[in-house]
């Protein structure tokens, strides 16, 4: 019989302690930030050094901070879900809330946690690795960041104003169409994804242009570090996948606010086309999330085994092969749509094929360690945890790819377990490994190993406790996206265990945050610029690198150039001589990217609540700023030789 809470339909978001809590914490945090900035007179600093920066390293740091904050936000969602599911028939969350929370959990984790985390690493490492002074389009890079940032704000604010989206991160029509989902919640999803998608696309273009056109002399493609190669593959996927997201979101938005019939049930609309097009983007998207992690692991495995990467060429080839094949597998997300045995067979086999190049990478990493000398520092520890975890997750992926078997796993907790195992064991472990690895390069000090290990073990053990039981739950017939479940299905024990695991992970995350806080205070300084005995160019620079990166652009002769020089005692080749220094051409800071991001927020807001005048004003503001930018005659300046000399002398490099 209908539980009472199913009878009311309003989208009022009052009367709920959760929301009040969120309201209060938002207000408190805002007040606190304003207070601190004012008290210490930091507004000017904030604007000059951060909000207007076009420096890839600072943009990277801002992405990183945003990603960690979003990990927390979506992690709290996860803890809430697991609390609700700990026991049968609980009512910590009603269905309305639960639906909103798994939607925001999935959406934020993928688009506002994992993506910015990846962009953080790209920004921080790629220009340094290829010997460039910045990315190809620094101004555009800043726009990408602010567009992402304000899109994230737009989605997060929905929790307290207007209501969160509640149709899943996949947001299938017609459930998410105007016919079944009224109110602004779903609009928040559509607009925030649309806006951040624009930023992601620009980032993909930016980095591909950077890598193809701005490498230091001598760095042929086959001499590039593997992380940079992984960003080539990722950028290609971004460029070809994100337009599909743009289209599918636009069409659904047109359906919702203009009454068109792309995906409605009426007037010939075809909801299956939504599913199809969503996954044209959605599947490549999950490889966009994993490939940078693969790149990171290649760097770390080599560095901490003191050995060149095994099978460099086949590492490169497999990256490119994965991005190619990943475009031909999307229908494996809807094998059960019944598109025909031929279709299912094609996409099943294509999906399995991805396992081959991925496996090659796994074996190459193992053989990078083979005959090496493995130092287990924090980055390596995360790398080591990745191998078994991701391999298992990939294996269950291949099991899902067997189409008729998927009829039994689809939308069950088996699937939930698969994708958390690859997303956490692959992407998140990779991002955390990279954070530990490049942290000294970003900030000039190391993260503490003692607390790092605690965070690591808690997070890892928590992971297995949380997600392995979910495979079995799936085989026991438990579906995803149920806000509660009945007694007597045999699901109780495993759910309870899973919840305990989630809590352990939560504690692990808190320890990780503590590690950062502790290290800011007590962290060991990195004075050499090369704390890990690194192999690639970024480690030849001081930590943190000066804002122009390289006073003199080096000429590259080897793969792992820096390691090679160290091995042969030729570090001096990278030493800077005063007579080589020239004025350096750099882009100026600009407030426009921030304002453009803000305008996008206004546009988004206007569409969410269908206040079109506001939306049009926002769009106009964007066009005006773009036009002003195009008319700007001197968006850049030169750093005079004296200043470079001065900086380099202070760093002790002259």
């Amino acid at each position: 019989m209908p539980p009472s809470h199913l009878s009311h339909w309003g989208l009022l978001i009052t009367g709920d302690p959760l929301i009040y809590g969120a309201d209060a914490s938002i207000v408190l945090a805002t007040v606190a930030i304003i207070f601190v900035l004012t008290k210490y007179k930091k507004w000017g600093w904030l604007w000059r050094e951060w909000l207007t920066t076009v420096d890839h390293k600072k943009i990277g740091i801002m992405y990183l901070i945003a990603a960690v904050l979003m990990l927390f936000r979506a992690g709290v969602d996860a803890e809430l879900m697991r609390t609700q599911l700990a026991l049968p028939n609980l009512h910590v969350l009603g269905p309305e809330h639960y639906d909103q929370i798994f939607t925001t959990h999935g959406t934020i984790m993928l688009l506002f946690m994992a993506m910015p985390f990846i962009f953080a690493l790209m920004n921080i490492a790629v220009p340094l690795q290829i010997g460039a002074r910045d990315v190809a389009f620094p101004f555009l890079n800043a726009i990408s960041f602010w567009v992402f940032f304000f899109a994230a704000m737009l989605l997060n604010i929905s929790f307290v104003i207007g209501g969160s989206p509640d149709a899943g991160w996949t947001s299938y029509a017609p459930l998410a169409g105007a016919g079944f989902d009224t109110g602004p919640g779903e609009n928040f999803y559509l607009l925030s994804l649309q806006i951040t998608g624009i930023g992601s696309l620009a980032t993909g273009i930016n980095f591909l242009a950077t890598i193809f056109k701005m490498r230091a002399p001598g760095m042929k493609l086959m001499k590039m570090p593997l992380f940079t190669w992984s960003i080539v593959a990722t950028s290609i996927l971004i460029i070809y996948a994100f337009p599909a997201l743009t289209v599918v979101l636009t069409l659904l938005l047109i359906d919702r606010i203009a009454g068109a019939h792309f995906f409605t049930i009426a007037a010939g609309g075809n909801p299956m086309m939504y599913i199809n097009m969503f996954w044209i983007w959605g599947h490549p998207e999950v490889y966009i999330l994993i490939l940078p992690a693969f790149g990171v692991f290649s760097e770390i495995a080599a560095t901490f085994s003191r050995k060149a990467v095994f099978g460099y060429k086949s590492m490169v080839f497999s990256l490119l092969l994965i991005s190619l094949i990943s475009y031909f597998v999307w229908a494996h997300h809807f094998f059960t749509m019944g598109a025909g045995a031929g279709v299912n067979s094609f996409f099943a086999v294509a999906s399995m094929l991805v396992g081959i190049p991925t496996g090659v990478k796994i074996f190459n990493w193992l053989f990078t360690m083979f005959h090496g000398r493995i130092r287990i520092k924090m980055p390596m520890l995360w790398m080591l945890a990745f191998i078994p975890c991701f391999t298992m997750g990939g294996m269950t992926g291949v099991m899902l790819a067997a189409a008729p078997a998927d009829y039994q796993y689809h939308n069950s907790y088996f699937l939930i377990a698969h994708f958390h195992q690859v997303l956490i064991g692959g992407t998140l472990f990779g991002m955390l490994a990279a954070m530990y690895y490049w942290w000294p390069k970003m900030f000039g000090f190391m993260l503490n190993e003692y607390w790092g290990k605690w965070a690591f073990w808690l997070f890892n053990i928590g992971f297995y406790v949380c997600f392995e039981p979910q495979y079995i739950l799936g085989l026991m017939g438990m579906q995803r996206r149920m806000y509660t479940y009945p007694k007597g299905m045999g699901w109780t024990d495993l759910n309870f265990i899973s919840t305990i695991g989630a809590y352990i992970m939560g504690i692990g995350f808190l320890v990780l945050v503590w590690d950062i806080v502790y290290s800011i205070k007590y962290g060991e300084r990195d004075l050499t610029g090369d704390p890990w005995d690194g192999r690639t160019l970024e480690w030849s620079l001081p930590s943190p690198a000066p804002h122009y990166n390289f006073a003199v652009i080096p000429t590259i002769t080897h793969r792992d150039h820096w390691w090679e020089l160290k091995q042969t005692g030729r570090q001096d080749e990278l030493k800077i001589h005063e007579q080589d220094i020239r004025p350096i051409h750099m882009p100026k800071n600009s407030g426009k990217p921030f304002l453009i991001g803000l305008s996008f927020f206004v546009v988004g807001w206007g569409f969410v609540f269908e206040w079109y005048i506001l939306a049009v004003l926002g769009l106009l503001a964007i066009f005006v700023m773009m036009f002003m930018r195009s008319a700007e005659q001197h968006p850049d300046y030169h750093i005079p030789v004296e200043e470079v000399v001065h900086t380099e002398t202070a760093l002790g490099r002259l």
Partner: protein, 217 residues
């Protein structure tokens, strides 16, 4: 271009463009420019996928006419033939603008760009007329899935063309003010890349949407 300056985007070969004495077009003369042109090509690749998705949607929905008109009854053959020749011609005039730009002839460049923009306006005008007519007979986006897809695909192309026109005008203004410099040369080149690309998209629109629409319902 001073060779004593290290450019952000110019670590390699920044002073080599004239070393062999070979012809290098102005828009490529500065390495930063070459990067921007490459970046724009990448944007076009992405835009291509965007249109592919719209085409796929249209093809899937083209027979879903609900209670509205079908393609055969809606499309005006004469109208889209006109539109086609106007746009093809504008692609040619855009190409001429690039040619004159490469010969550093400001007046010619401006003139050809102006003709191109005018042809573009004529195209958009015809398209708006067509849409207004359709809406007048009750064939709107809300009528059927077929019409939703039709207006969105063709409208997206039209929007691209309109943005191209505004962009061209701003470049014409800059050409008049600053003459042909590496920066304006690059802008002329890029806007024409965009323009030719839209021409290709239109070729597919008239083939897949219009011709296929009128030859079989």
């Amino acid at each position: 271009m001073s060779t004593t300056i290290d450019h952000t985007g110019a670590q390699h070969g920044h002073d080599s463009h004239s070393s062999t004495g070979a012809f290098v077009p102005l828009e490529y003369s500065d390495p930063d420019n070459a990067i921007k042109i490459f970046g724009f090509w990448l944007f076009l690749a992405a835009d291509m996928v965007l249109f592919a998705c719209l085409f796929a949607t249209f093809i899937v929905l083209r027979t879903h006419i609900a209670n509205g008109p079908d393609a055969q009854h809606l499309f005006d053959v004469k109208g889209f033939i006109e539109e086609t020749f106007i746009l093809l011609t504008s692609s040619f005039t855009g190409g001429m603008a690039t040619f004159f730009m490469r010969h550093r002839r400001v007046k010619g460049t401006v003139a050809w760009l102006t003709v191109t923009a005018l042809l573009g306006m004529a195209f958009v005008g015809l398209e708006i007329t067509e849409f207004v007519h359709d809406v007048g007979i009750g064939a709107t986006m809300q009528t059927s899935a077929f019409l939703s897809a039709f207006f969105t695909l063709v409208g997206t192309h039209g929007l691209h063309v309109s943005i191209g026109i505004a962009w061209m005008i701003s470049i014409i203004v800059q050409l008049i003010r600053y003459g042909i410099t590496p920066a304006t040369a690059r802008k002329v080149f890029i806007v024409n890349l965009y323009w030719h690309f839209l021409d290709v998209v239109w070729v597919f629109i008239f083939t897949v949407v219009y011709i296929m629409g009128v030859i079989h319902a």
